[in-house]
Amino acid sequence: MKNIKYIALMALGLVACEPELDNSVEDAGFYSPGDADFSTFVSIGNSLTAGYADGTVYLEGQKYSYPNILADKFSHVGGGTFTQPLVNDNVGGLTLGGAQIADTRLVLSGTPLGLENLSGTPTTEVSNILTGPFNNVGVPGAKSFHLLSDSYGNVSGVATGTANPYFVRMASSPSTTMLGDAVAQNPSFFSLWIGNNDILSFATSGGVGVDQTGNTDPMTYGGNDITDPMVFHGTYDAILSGLTANGAKGVVMNLPSVTSIPFFTYVDHNPVPLDAATAGYLNSASAYGAYNAGIQGAFAYLVANTPLTQAMADAEIAKRTIVFSESANNALVIMDESLTDLTGLNSQLISMRQATAADLILLTTGPLIGTLAVEADPTSIIGVGVPLNDSQVLTESEVTMVSTAQTAYNNSISMLAAANDGVILIDVKAAMEQLANGGLSSNGTTITDEYIYGGGFSLDGVHPTAKGYAFIANIVIDRINTEFNATIPTTNTGYYPTTYID
């Protein structure tokens, strides 16, 4: 009896007809690559290229890296396979020699929902070198000049900071460079998004590094320094020359402003609620009243004895005078190294002032505000009784350093893109500004820069969500279609995840 079923199935199968569309998206020529050749697509950059999100690299994040989304769409116009240096799990984090060297991914967890590192042990071992080549040469943490560094993939340099664990595990040899591994694949099309960390590591450290503008030797830079714009320009030129040497076309992305990233915008500068009694105490001579009086005296002395003018003194006195009121929105007290150092006159007159909207309180500082610096000492409330330190806030003058460098880098990127035939500029900066001013919408989904709930930024507050990366991929595809006369399909942003709940 059983055979009858199979015979019947076979007979039916023979006459079964597949429903085929007159014009199928699978048909050759349905989509056009235009003037570009997508057969070998290589993407080079930093964490934004790697698909980094929620504070780490994990499998789901890599799946939704913007170049991987692009490659999926390029496959309709002759694009080949796109390989990525996949990590081992969805837990995130890294180990080196078995010891954990990077945190697991951030997730929302608990009741009420809060931010937590996903429980679990990282299983991605840095010294376990993968066999490439990898079309995605995205290395979290990489700065512009790292792309040319031949020690960046050497495992022995991970501990000292000359190498990057993410590059170590994917490098074709310990002495290769990121650019070398990219160019060796003879790309026909590339994407380049680099330079973010040349300012961002300074910014996310609260500006504890040095603005190295004027110092053209990156070998002397610390990890949190701002790269000299001349160094950036020269490096970027070299990278683009390498990528276009065989005539490859490509896209380059410019750098968004720190003020469009929730890591710098989520925590207000004035979150301190005070009642009349507490405000009165803080303003009294037993608290900041003494500091305010001291400032007056110190500047009177400086005007009398130094070239400092009364106007300059008045301006800084106004800036430094600390006043609290009965309100829900008192400004935080912060340290600002750009203020005139008065501690030589009076060690109590440290360089502190109240924050303004121009100062950016770091996302990671948020949970500390309002806690006690000294146990059981109610006058040691961080941000009120105890000023936020340099690493907890990006002050106005530090913001200026960052934006000045960013403007210089972006000018270089625009100029060098224009100077290279077949290289088009993607204005990610403008897109990110739109994200912070009403949001981006497509396919029935809207993302904004709002932390956690906006959908655009992952839980680390710096890197996009999968949905955010999908929007970026569509911006790239739209530009490619316009500039290269291509008709590449876009991706449906509605299907991409945002923040994950454990």
């Binding site: 007979a11 079964a16 569309l21 789901e60 799946k63 949905k467 991409y496 994950y500 709940i501």
Partner: protein
């Protein structure tokens, strides 16, 4: 006989996957071969379904017809904006029918029918681009219809009977377009209920105004499949999700609409029989698919707003030899689905059915009936516009094309 019965039973327990809408017009091999006409055809026990009044005029003391059809259906979906291509898994669906009639005396006949006029089984690729609307659906309904027919005169008979329906539903969809657990497994829900009982009825009139001409009328009532306290199984729900999406129960109603059929048959040139049927299905009953969950998933309302639909059927029969009777037919099947309501769980647009078949008479009592249906669908650009996320309609659409072929076989027995 025993072998044939076990053959049929074998198919009954086998997988029954339907596709292309949930009314499946395959209720008899002889009549299917004639474009599924039959409201005015007096030929076999298949009349139990097509027009219960017809059994009064059947020859013989007893008539038996049973048959089974293999439906091979597939739907392809494409969206050119995103380059998506998806298709339903091809499966074999096997609607069956079993009819028996018994002439108690000259004016009174009894009958019994067991058949499967509704069913839908569409299985898209798991987590495909329309997975927020449906991953897969399997809807089954077996109709059991005891029948009585009274011959009022040689020119008029009436008939009818109650219909007992036993059905089941299994429906899986993702909760929305993007929710998943931390490993990326999409959050989805399966609603399932078996042994849903419902009742309906059928009434028919057969008129033979002149020799060789029959006029028939048949009304089949609406049947509402009421799922109550079915199982709702939520999978891959993030543990810390503030909403309660624990497994629970669901209620839902699915209407199987009333259907009116009128038609005629006319014998000519001795050996030919022409038949025409007009079906009117009150699909406007199907306003929305409302699923009520007992957890925070709440009430899920998917507007359908179907409209009444018509089908025009034409059939021809030719007694080629004493042993062989040939049949063919064509029908034009309207779609109840309005533009903007084209949901991938029933990806059904207008279609044209081409049918053919034959009967081979083994002896005076027994014949074998074969049929073949090719259902042709034009490709269609359409969408379902009423899925909501965040209070906003999010259309899902593209180009659909379906194809259905359905060969079938059965036997007729006359005593």
């Amino acid at each position: 006989m025993k072998k044939l019965l076990s053959f049929v039973l074998f198919f009954l327990v086998g997988s029954t996957l339907y596709a292309g809408g949930y009314r499946v017009s395959i209720q008899g091999q002889k009549q299917l071969a004639m474009g599924h006409t039959g409201v005015a055809v007096i030929s076999s026990a298949e009349s139990v379904f097509f027009n219960p009044a017809g059994i009064s005029f059947l020859d013989g003391k007893m008539n038996l017809s049973l048959g089974v059809t293999g439906i091979i259906a597939k739907t392809t979906f494409e969206n050119a904006t995103f380059g998506d291509t998806n298709s339903t898994e091809s499966g074999l669906a096997t609607p069956f029918s079993l009819y028996a009639t018994y002439k108690a005396n000259d004016w009174l006949s009894f009958g019994l029918g067991v058949y499967t006029p509704y069913g839908s089984s569409v299985a898209w690729e798991k987590d495909w681009s329309g997975s927020h609307l449906v991953n897969d659906i399997d809807l089954k309904a077996i109709f059991v219809q005891p029948t009585i027919s009274v011959k009022i005169s040689d020119k008029l008979s009436i008939g009818g009977g109650p219909i007992y329906v036993n059905g089941s539903v299994n429906f899986n969809k993702n909760l929305n377009r993007s929710l998943s657990d931390t490993d990326g497994n999409r959050t989805n829900v399966t609603v399932e209920q078996k042994n849903i009982s419902a009742w309906g009825y059928t009434l028919g009139v057969m008129i033979k105004p002149i020799e060789k001409l029959n006029i028939g009328f048949n009304y089949r009532s609406k049947v509402t499949m009421e799922a109550r306290d079915g199982d709702a199984d939520f999978e891959n729900v993030p543990g810390s999700l503030p909403n309660n999406l624990s497994d629970g129960k669901f209620d839902a109603d699915l209407p199987l609409p009333a259907e009116i059929t009128v038609g005629l048959s006319y014998e000519f040139c001795d050996k030919f029989l022409f038949a025409f049927d007009y079906n009117f299905a009150q699909w406007s009953e199907y306003e929305a698919l409302v699923v009520v969950f007992d957890n925070d998933a709440g009430v899920s309302t998917s507007p359908r707003n179907y409209v009444d639909s018509e089908t025009f059927r034409f059939g021809l029969q030719y007694e080629a030899t004493k042993k062989i009777t040939l049949r063919t037919g064509i029908y034009f099947d309207g779609s109840p689905v309005q533009d903007g309501y084209f949901a991938p769980e029933t990806p059904r647009n207008e279609s044209t059915g081409y049918t053919a078949g034959l009967s081979y008479k083994i002896n005076d009592k027994l014949s074998i009936d074969a049929s073949f249906l090719y259902l042709h669908f034009e490709e269609i650009d359409n969408s379902y516009d009423y899925y909501q996320e965040g209070g906003q309609n999010v259309p899902f659409g593209g180009t659909y094309k379906s194809s259905v072929i359905a060969p079938g076989i059965g036997i007729s027995y006359k005593l």
